[in-house]
Structure formats: structure tokens, C-alpha cells
């Protein structure tokens, strides 16, 4: 019955669509249910701290240099033993990322010598004004871990002598 082919094709198409009506919908009810992101998801940046509360960022601006879209602005200042922010010689006194420019390529985390900046799993980045797109350091830095002290800290003289703290090889 090859003559009936046009009809059979039509009916097969209709049957396919009808079958899918009884499949379970793949929709995720987004604001109520959020799917966990993948391990290597590149979301909003996070500036990390050491366990004692000191900031990992030493204000070297390598991330800003690596950034292909020029989204990062870093201004560094000198640490003193009275007011210590990071274990290095300097720290980032201003750290701003323009989220409208950022393309979430992850070059900044590759460039960072102290693993201070990583792309986290936060992806809800909407804002209503252009000025809100610039995320300052206060929004990016993670909270002080338990047992640590907030920065600036007062430290013993002679504890932190290196310009870049000693680092282990990266894990991931």
C-alpha cells in the first residue's frame, strides 16, 4: 500500500505529537525550585579569605590585566602591621567588577596568583540601573569564616614578610 504513504506520514506525525502530551514536562518552576549548578559553572565572582579572615587578594591587578573585556578595576594600597588586610605586601583597597562588561570567561581566576578570585555559582545578577552593574569589593568578598577575624587586623610585626604569600599548588 505505498499509495497510502502520504496519509500514513501525516498520521505518524500526529501520533508523535500526541504521544508527547503524556510525557512528564521538563519545566523547572524556577524561582521556587532551583537546579544546582555544575561544579565548573562560571557565575558571579567571589573574593576569598584565608581561615584567619585575611583576604587572599594581594592587589596585584593581574586579573584586570588578563580580563579581555576590561571589566575589572583594582586599586592597591600598602598593608601595615597595624592595619593588615592581606598576608602580602599590598591589598586591594578598591576592587570593582562591571557585570555589564564581564563575559564570565574565567581568565581572572586563571591569572590570580593567590586563588583569591573564583567564579562562583551565583547567577541571579539582574539590576535596574547601570550604576548597579558595578559590583564593589563589599559585594564580592565572602564573609569572614568562623574563627577568623574581620579585616583590617592588627598583626605581630615580622609575621608577614613576603610580597606574595606562600602558596600550595592548585587542587582543581
Amino acid at each position: 500500500m505505498r499509495v497510502l504513504e502520504p496519509l500514513i506520514e501525516l498520521v505518524r506525525g500526529l501520533w508523535t505529537t500526541l504521544r508527547f502530551m503524556f510525557e512528564k514536562p521538563v519545566t523547572v518552576q524556577y524561582p521556587e525550585h532551583k537546579k544546582p549548578v555544575k561544579a565548573r559553572f562560571r557565575g558571579r565572582h567571589v573574593l576569598h579569605r584565608y581561615e584567619n579572615g585575611l583576604e587572599k587578594c594581594i592587589g596585584c591587578s593581574l586579573c584586570a590585566a588578563a580580563c579581555p573585556s576590561d571589566a575589572i578595576f583594582v586599586e592597591s594600597s600598602e598593608n601595615t602591621d597595624e592595619q593588615r588586610f592581606s598576608p602580602g605586601e599590598r591589598y586591594a583597597s578598591t576592587y570593582e567588577i562591571n557585570m555589564l562588561r564581564c563575559i564570565f570567561c574565567g581568565f581572572c581566576e586563571d591569572a590570580c596568583p593567590t586563588e583569591a578570585i573564583t567564579l562562583g555559582d551565583q547567577y541571579e545578577l539582574s539590576f535596574t540601573e547601570r550604576s548597579q552593574a558595578i559590583y564593589p569589593k563589599e559585594m564580592l568578598i565572602e564573609p569572614v569564616p568562623s574563627g577568623g577575624k574581620p579585616t583590617p587586623q592588627k598583626t605581630e610585626p615580622g609575621t608577614f614578610t613576603r610580597s606574595v604569600p606562600e602558596m600550595k599548588d592548585p587542587q582543581d
Binding site: 502520504p6 501525516l10 505529537t17 519545566t27
Partner: protein, 379 residues
Amino acid sequence: MTLALLIEWIIKAVVLVLVLLTGFAYLTLYERKALARIQMRVGPNRAGPWGILQPIADAVKLIFKEELMPARADKLLFFLAPIVTLVPALVITAVVPWGPDLHVFGYTITLYIADVNVGVLYIMSVASIAVYGIVLAGWSSNNKYAMMGGLRSTAQMISYEIALGLSFVGVILLAGSAQMTEIVNAQKSAWFVLLQPVGTVIFLIATLAEVNRAPFDMPEAEQELTAGYHTEYSGMKFALLFMAEYDKMIAICSIGATLFFGGYREFWFLSNTILSVDRTPWLGPVYIFIKIFILLFGMIWVRATFPRIRYDRLMAFGWKVLLPLSLALIFITATFILLAQQSNNSLLLWGIPVVSLLAGLLAVSLVYRTLRRKEYARA
């Protein structure tokens, strides 16, 4: 004409218009839900439980939208076109009976607005008025795409209206009347879909083209014509055009249910039970509602399944397949009715579906041969 009769008419007309307008609102929701399910989504579900307030949200949005008018548009026609499109879609349902006569307090209420004795002709003529609105909308917008959408719509409607009208003729011959109530009563023993299977298929295809639904939605083919005839429309005027399109869907489905699927009569497995319309007349509107609902699902289902066909093929299909086939159907129907009358044997009427199915098969095989020949020519 007494005052009571006048009030009855007004009430019925208002009820019908309200049913059509809310029906339009909920048809959009129904379509979005059904399409979503076919595409494994859930569809609108934010406004109210299961999204039942979504049409209201849509309406509020459309009312508050800015109304734009192209600078060099024909102002009057641009304003009139949505109305001219909507009104036929509303008035066409006036002749569709949605239930048998009700006897309340010794007073008979007929469940139709007008029982015109040329009801089918009325439907045909009003349906063809709707195309004016579309072509005027396209022309008055002063936009190439809108113009082409309007022209395509006209050409398509004229072509498919012939097949549509001829598929009505088979029903008229069988019922012996063009009056809608007579046609419904004639389907007491068997729905005309059984006697006119091919005619029903032609009707269903032609209605898709008539109301510009996918896969025949050439007048608003997004990929080619942006939005076709309503490109320049926004706000409430766009809502009117949209409303006309969906009300036409409802109207044409109610006509289809009346002509081929027994109208307000009960389903065959319910006849001679307490649920038949002869015993409980008020179930008539329920039955026709169920039938319209199922036919509308068919339209949505077809939209979800088939891609839009090319314009020249659309015309070729209408003129070269549907028109000759429907003419052949009329010939077959008339022949067997004549035979049944001459021999006084109404069983001969069942020759109509047999022979018309054969004719349909022949048409399919001819289409198949043409397609094959084109394949060979290409290879």
C-alpha cells in the same frame, strides 16, 4: 412580536456574544496549555491556579499598550478593519443551534438566535465578509508585508471557500434542507461524518485555511511577512484582530460540530438513555460544547504537528485536489440519494461513504504519484 420575545432575543444574543468573548479568552489559554503539553512544557501557570487568570492579565496588558498608527496609513480603514474582521466572526454563530427547544413554565425557548431557512448559505456569505477586514487591514497599514499578508489571505480564502462550500452541499443533500435545525435533526440516526467521511475531511482542511490556522497560516507567516496583515497593529486594535481569529475558530468548529458531528445531539452510545437530548433537553449545550472542545483540540494539535506549507502548493492543493474531490463527492452523494429514493431502500445511502472513501483514496494516490514524479524529476 411581543415584548417578551424581544427580551428573549436580546438575552440570547448577549449570552452568545459573552460566551464567544470569554470563549476567545479561554481558547488562547487552552491553546497555550495544549501546545505546551505537546512540547513537554506546562504552559502558563502563574496567574491564578493553573493559569486561569492568564487571559485577564493578557487583556489588561493589551488595553494599556500604546496604540500606534503608521504616519501614512489610511486612518479610517485602519480603524475600521479590526471591527470589520471581528463582527462576522461573532454574527456567524447566530444560526448555530446549541440545544433543542426548552419548555419552561409553559413557555418555549428556542436555543438559537435565528433559524434561517438558508442557514448554510448565511454561514458561507458571512464567512466571506471576514476576509474584507483582513485585506483592508493589510492595505490600510501602508506596509508591504501587511499588504502581502492581506492579499495572500484573500487568495487563500477564495480558493478554499469553494471546497468548503461544496463540502456543505453533501450535507444539504443528505438533510434535504439548508436549515441548521433540520440538519441537526436529520442526524438523529447517524452523524453525517459517517455518511460523508471524505466531506468531513475536506471541511476540516478547508476550515484550517479559512481561519488562517497553521499549517495554512500564510497571511501571517512570521518568517516571511513578520506578522502579515496585523504587522502595524498594536494595543486594543491588535486584540480585536486576535479576537476575530480565535472567535472564527470557535465559530467554524461549532459549524463543523453542527453539520457533521450531530450538533447538540448526544453521542451515539448515549442515545435512548436518560442522557439523550430528547429526554433531557438542557444537555444539548453541554454536548455541543464538548464537540467544539474536541474539534478545537484538533486544530491546536495540527498546529503543533505540521510545518507551514509553501504558498503555491497551498493553492495547488486547494484547486487541484480539494475542488475536484468535493465535486466528485457531490456527484456520488446525489447518485446514491437518487438510487435510494427510486428503490425505496435507505440502506443504499451507505454506498455514499464506501464510494466516497474510494474516491478519496484515488485522490491520495494521485497526490502520491505527483509527488513521486517530482522526486524523479529532481533526481
